[in-house]
């Protein structure tokens, strides 16, 4: 009697496990499928945007070669260096802003602290593009919408609002015991020294996380870049370039190159992302728990 019950519980567990694994398997295929398809397309030898077969008939590396050699219409290498330069500078600036603001809000008590946090929340509720046009007019009034100054403009715009996204870093700083700061103060440290010599080294994960998100932001966003660059095609970033390749006039000859470009920029981003995955989880669960 008892043995039978044990047995049925075992089969039940086995059935449950099988169901769960099958469902997970199907879902995993659904999630991985588009990525596999892009990689396949990037090696496809047949030109044109839409073909009647799902799998490529013959494979080639030409798409990758064209991406780097055919610079007459869409200059991919140039876009790449543009994006890299802008990303590096805006990454440095926004990392500084975010860490500085988070440190102040977490560790120091001053009059503007709560007003600042409320302001950040309110500003977050406005649709981002609402101010986009206005930002363009401001940059135009400053004469920064022509030539290489566009790069400076993009750096300023991308890093400008960074300090409003202090929540995750602040959540992390909050977890460092205040006793450490107090001990340092008693030993005669200034608050600047506490920030640079104690808090930052203790929060390496969040510093890396902030840096990487700031660095990746530019590779992923294209709306702002598009509005600010307008027709200055020599200042385009990668995101605009890829988007352009799918426009009606280019799609036929550039479609497979788009796939190649997408694969190329996904590799570093994916590597960075997988690397910082654990910080992502830590930072966020810290922030959610308050």
């Amino acid at each position: 009697m008892k043995k039978e019950k044990m047995h049925s519980a075992k089969t039940k567990r086995f059935i449950n496990n099988t169901i769960v694994h099958t469902v997970l398997g199907i879902l995993a295929v659904v999630w991985v499928f588009p990525i596999v398809w892009v990689i396949l397309t990037s090696f496809r030898a047949e030109k044109g945007s839409y073909v009647s077969t799902f799998l490529p008939q013959s494979c080639t590396l030409d798409n990758y070669i064209k991406l780097f050699t055919d610079t007459t219409i869409l200059d991919f290498p140039k876009m790449f260096t543009n994006t890299l330069v802008i990303a590096i500078f805006s990454c440095i600036l926004s990392t500084f802003y975010v860490l500085a603001a988070s440190y102040c809000l977490s560790r120091l008590r001053f009059k503007m602290r709560k007003p600042y946090m409320n302001m950040a929340m309110i500003l977050g509720l406005f649709p981002g593009f609402m101010s986009m046009i206005a930002v363009y007019f401001i940059l135009k009034a400053l004469g920064m919408t022509e030539g290489n100054l566009i790069k400076v403009a993009l750096v300023l715009v991308y890093s400008g609002g960074a300090a409003l996204g202090f929540q995750i870093a602040k959540g992390f700083f909050d977890t460092i015991p205040f006793a450490v700061d107090e001990a340092a103060l008693l030993d005669g440290c200034t608050r600047w020294q506490i920030f640079t010599k104690i808090t930052l080294p203790l929060s390496k994960p969040i510093v890396i996380y902030t840096t990487l998100t700031a660095f990746m932001g530019l590779w992923l966003d294209f709306i702002f870049a598009k509005v600010i660059c307008r027709a200055n095609s020599d200042q385009y970033t990668i995101a605009i370039g890829l988007w352009k390749m799918l426009e009606k006039e280019y799609i036929d000859s550039w479609y497979t190159c788009f796939a190649a470009g997408a694969v190329l920029i996904s590799i570093p981003i994916a590597a960075l992302f997988l690397y910082m995955q654990r910080y992502y989880v830590d930072g966020l669960s810290g922030a959610v728990k308050g």
Binding site: V20, R113, A163, V281
Partner: protein, 459 residues
């Protein structure tokens, strides 16, 4: 109800502006006119000089430019651009007319500068009074070097917060005020008001709320779809992410790392790339339809109307959003899910609850309780979710040709179309403001009722 709770000043100081005006000495009162005078009298030459320099710079700016900008603000300019025949060069040249947009921009910037000036003025008055009090009491008055040093210690926030604040002011607050002003003008392509425009008060709001006009009816339908979209997009991701996370992390599941990797891989691909890929795959001649045809599910000349039929398009964007969003939800919720105490589950199992009951009676209530702020942020993010809609469907299909919005357009994508494509800047600004009002009202109500607000009280 807490909103109007009397503010308790956490940072009491005896050096306030009111006291400086009432009790300050001659030099302090004079520094209301000549900023920095009080500091100079008490030996703080550099500080006093800096205050004076700020005042001089402001006054010079106001005389040269600022006053003009402010004077133009009420009328927004009236000189139209004209074409004049230039005899000498034998060509038509354009005279420089007024550009209302620049007048508005400079006007708003001048007002912001003036507010900054008031802040500096108050600062100088307080500082002069403080120096006077300290000198009277025979205490030490800080020298400039000591002031700079204090920036690295007890006043560190001033040093660290000023640069971010400056850029937030220049690239977030100023543009926002500027756009809010536009909502009250007739700056649009209609009647050719792109160069010169005027204040029109609340006319734009009236036009949008008038449900008998095309604009009004479009607004209500777009608003309705935006809310439906935000609701489904938020909760479908939330629940699907939770279920998948529970499935991966349950005891019996093998190769947890592999499953997690499969899902996270798709979020490692830049979002705009995966969205563009999805869009091309779902076109009438795209990969999905080709695959279905090859497998024989649909006839060779048929294709599923993913983005051409309104209902199909709406369901498609929500489903694709699950594909895009679930990996992120998975990453974010796994940690919180693992915080649920195992005893709760065990007790439920002993009482004979099955997996579905456990999910709805224990997991979901607990998660809703803990992650309210996260849900609010996600909901807000979805109302403002420009990328998914713009890159996937572009707001299509447009069924009513007279309206400016398609069937899957959200308020934000409609805002984008109205401003960038149609150049109806004023209506775009009104929509932006209304989006904000809706979100702010919703966020405020939920925040105030949520556990996190009551406990933390930070917001």
């Amino acid at each position: 109800m807490g909103i109007f709770k009397k503010r308790v000043n956490e940072f009491p100081t005896s050096y306030t502006c009111a006291r400086a005006m009432r009790e300050g000495g001659k030099e302090t009162k004079l520094s209301m006119l000549v900023m920095g005078l009080g500091n100079m009298v008490h030996g703080q030459f550099v500080k006093g000089f800096l205050f004076l320099a700020i005042e001089v710079a402001y006054v010079v700016f106001m005389i040269v430019n600022g006053a003009g900008f402010l004077a133009m603000l009420p009328s927004l300019g009236s000189v139209p651009q004209e074409e004049i025949w230039d005899e000498a060069q034998q060509i038509y040249v354009y005279t420089k007319g007024d550009q209302s947009i620049l007048i508005l921009l400079y006007g708003v910037a001048t007002i912001l500068l003036t507010l900054l000036m008031v802040y500096a003025w108050r600062g100088s008055l307080k500082s002069a009074y403080k120096a006077e009090c300290l000198a009277k009491a025979g205490k030490h008055v800080n020298s400039f070097v000591e002031d700079v040093k204090s920036l690295f210690d007890e006043n560190l926030q001033k040093l660290l917060m000023t640069p971010p604040m400056f850029f937030i002011g220049a690239f977030t607050i100023l543009p926002l005020i500027f756009m809010i002003c536009m909502a009250f003008t007739n700056y649009s392509k209609i009647d050719n008001h792109l160069m010169l425009f005027d204040w029109v008060g609340l006319d734009n709001f009236k036009a949008l709320f008038d449900s008998s006009s095309i604009l009004g009816s479009t607004f209500w339908s777009v608003l309705g779809w935006t809310l439906v979209w935000a609701f489904f997009a938020t909760f479908s991701n939330y629940i699907a992410g939770m279920i998948i996370s529970l499935m991966i992390n349950r005891k019996g599941t093998r190769a947890k790392g592999f499953w997690r990797f499969c899902f996270v891989l798709s979020c490692a691909v830049p979002m705009f790339v995966s969205l563009l890929i999805m869009r091309t795959m779902l076109q009438p001649e795209g990969a999905i339809n080709v695959l279905l045809r090859n497998l024989g599910f649909i006839a060779a000349d048929q294709s599923l109307p993913f983005f051409t039929d309104p209902t199909w398009a709406r369901v498609t964007v929500i489903v694709i959003n699950i594909w895009v969003g679930v990996p992120y939800t998975l990453l974010q919720l796994t940690g919180v899910l693992q915080n649920i105490q195992e005893e709760l589950y065990e007790a439920a199992r002993v009482d004979g609850a099955n997996a579905v009951q456990i999910f709805f009676k224990i997991t979901l209530p607990y998660m809703l309780y803990v992650t309210t702020p996260y849900l609010i942020t996600t909901f807000t993010g979805n109302v403002n979710n420009f990328n998914v809609i713009y890159l996937l469907s572009g707001g299509d299909p447009v069924t009513d040709l007279s309206s400016t919005a398609g069937k899957t357009d959200l308020l934000v994508t409609w805002l984008y179309k109205l401003t960038i494509d149609k150049q109806y800047y004023n209506i775009g600004a009104v929509i932006g403001i209304l989006t904000f009002v809706i979100l702010a009202a919703g966020a405020l109500i939920t925040y105030r009722n949520s556990k996190s607000y009551k406990e933390e009280g930070g917001f």
